[in-house]
């Protein structure tokens, strides 16, 4: 039986200066906070980071950026993170913005072994600048190259030892696509079960895409309820 469980330290040891990393999560749900803390402790720098947003100030991906470890961020929206917007405005980090679903689709294409996608989203806006435009079915569309990473870091609710994954509620978000789009895929999981225990029809990401599983022995405060979003 294949058992992909590993320690956090061993799972992330191939990450080095200059690596391109993608992170699941949309806000708190699905963000691999423990893996991010491990990367901070590893001390690597000059990272290119890919994530829907940069979490909120002082949390998750924001901590890596605030620590000056990242040269470039590829993302969709930073509206809830004034600190990273400040770092971007001071030009201490290069930021590339994409429409959220186009970011997801670029990652999907990368995971599907495609070279890119064609889209009319953003045609006629400043997004068209510097993009290669082709006419498809009589309509101008832009080419968006596919996106892959050296390592994808994702969060699951349940994993079996082979890496079959189940996500919970709105925590699925970018995790599912990112699990397919990196040379090495590391998942942190809240629960670990034996192979054969998951209903195969309920698996969201097949274990064939996963390289390392890190079992979370506890969830840090960052995974909990954020007071400022309580009504």
């Amino acid at each position: 039986m294949i058992d992909k469980t590993n320690t956090l330290e061993k799972a992330i040891q191939t990450i080095s200066d200059g690596s391109t990393l993608m992170f699941g999560g949309f806000g708190v749900p699905g963000t691999p906070f423990t893996l991010i803390d491990g990367i901070i402790a590893l001390g690597v720098t000059d990272l290119t980071l890919i994530k829907n947003e940069a979490n909120e100030d002082g949390m998750g991906l924001s901590k890596l950026i605030e620590a000056g470890r990242s040269k470039k961020l590829i993302t969709s929206h930073l509206g809830l993170n004034a600190t990273v917007i400040g770092i971007m405005n001071r030009r201490e980090i290069e930021v590339e913005f994409y429409p959220q679903g186009i970011l997801a689709e670029k990652i999907r294409a990368g995971g599907a072994g495609l070279q890119g996608i064609l889209t009319d989203i953003g045609m006629g806006t400043i997004l068209e600048k510097n993009k290669q435009v082709v006419v498809m079915d009589g309509k101008p569309t832009m080419i968006e190259p596919a996106l892959r990473a050296d390592v994808a870091l994702i969060h699951a609710s349940v994993a079996d030892r082979y890496g079959n994954l189940v996500y919970e509620k709105s925590a699925r978000n970018f995790n599912a696509a990112m699990a397919t789009a990196a040379d090495r895929v590391i998942v942190e999981t809240e629960h670990l079960v034996e192979v054969g225990e998951l209903d195969p029809d309920q698996v969201h990401t097949p274990g064939a895409f996963i390289d390392h599983i890190v079992l979370l022995d506890q969830l840090s405060k960052e995974y909990g309820i954020l007071k400022r979003h309580v009504t």
Binding site: H77, Q100, A104, E105, D120, S170, G224, V230
Partner: protein, 216 residues
């Protein structure tokens, strides 16, 4: 009732039974509490919820259930969850019947600017561009003027566009405006204002209805 609540309450009346809708940040997030309980409305949230409910009551929060603005939410019976790829397939693939977005500027031809003020405000694009471009019907919910009292409904937008010719209807605290081939049509007026006040606070020319001007 605040201006934003007035706008949200009027906006809720535009929603048809059985429709799939998406709500942007700001005023649109106030709309669910004004939904007609006799209607079935499927609220889609970009982060992968199809069948979102109301804002979550204090103390009942689920750490894995937020809307796209980070607020804790509830879900309705029949909800399903999906990943970001599928969530945007719903949007770009044309399954979104109606969307509500905020705006910095809207033009009389339906151009929308709501994501960037170059040099001042550029938090990113988010899901708004795809929603604006692909929803079957887009309603902009805005206060009629900005904080300095300047009109937001213009002849043409001065800011970079989110999408061109995408807005169907504009709802402000003063009125409901439909954007048609013929121009900007006032459909309904608030009982708190009059036509002269609306004309003075709107840069674009307004076309009045030939029949009765409804009041809300």
């Amino acid at each position: 009732m605040s201006l934003k609540e007035i706008i949200a309450k009027r906006a809720a009346r535009e929603i048809q039974d059985g429709s799939i809708i998406n709500l942007g940040i700001g005023i649109p997030t106030l709309i669910p509490k004004y939904l007609d309980a006799t209607k079935t409305v499927i609220v889609h949230s970009e982060n992968g919820i199809i069948g979102m409910g109301q804002a979550c009551p204090r103390g009942a929060e689920d750490r894995n259930l937020i809307d796209a603005g980070g607020r804790y939410v509830t879900v309705n019976s029949g909800v399903s969850f999906c990943d970001s790829v599928l969530s945007f397939s719903l949007i770009r693939g044309g399954r979104l019947d109606l969307a509500f977005l905020g705006a910095l500027e809207v033009s009389k031809t339906g151009d929308l600017a709501n994501w960037i003020i170059p040099g001042k405000y550029s938090p990113g694009i988010g899901g708004g561009m795809e929603v604006a471009q692909k929803a079957k019907r887009l309603i902009v919910t805005i206060t009629h003027t900005d904080r300095k009292g300047r009109p937001k409904i213009l002849d043409s937008c001065t800011l970079p566009l989110t999408a061109g010719k995408c807005v169907s209807t504009i709802i402000t605290e003063l009125g409901v405006f439909d954007i048609l081939e013929t121009g900007l049509h006032l459909r309904e007026i608030s009982k708190e204002t009059d036509i002269d006040h609306i004309i003075r606070n709107t840069e674009a020319d307004i076309i009045l209805p030939e029949g009765e001007l409804l009041v809300f």
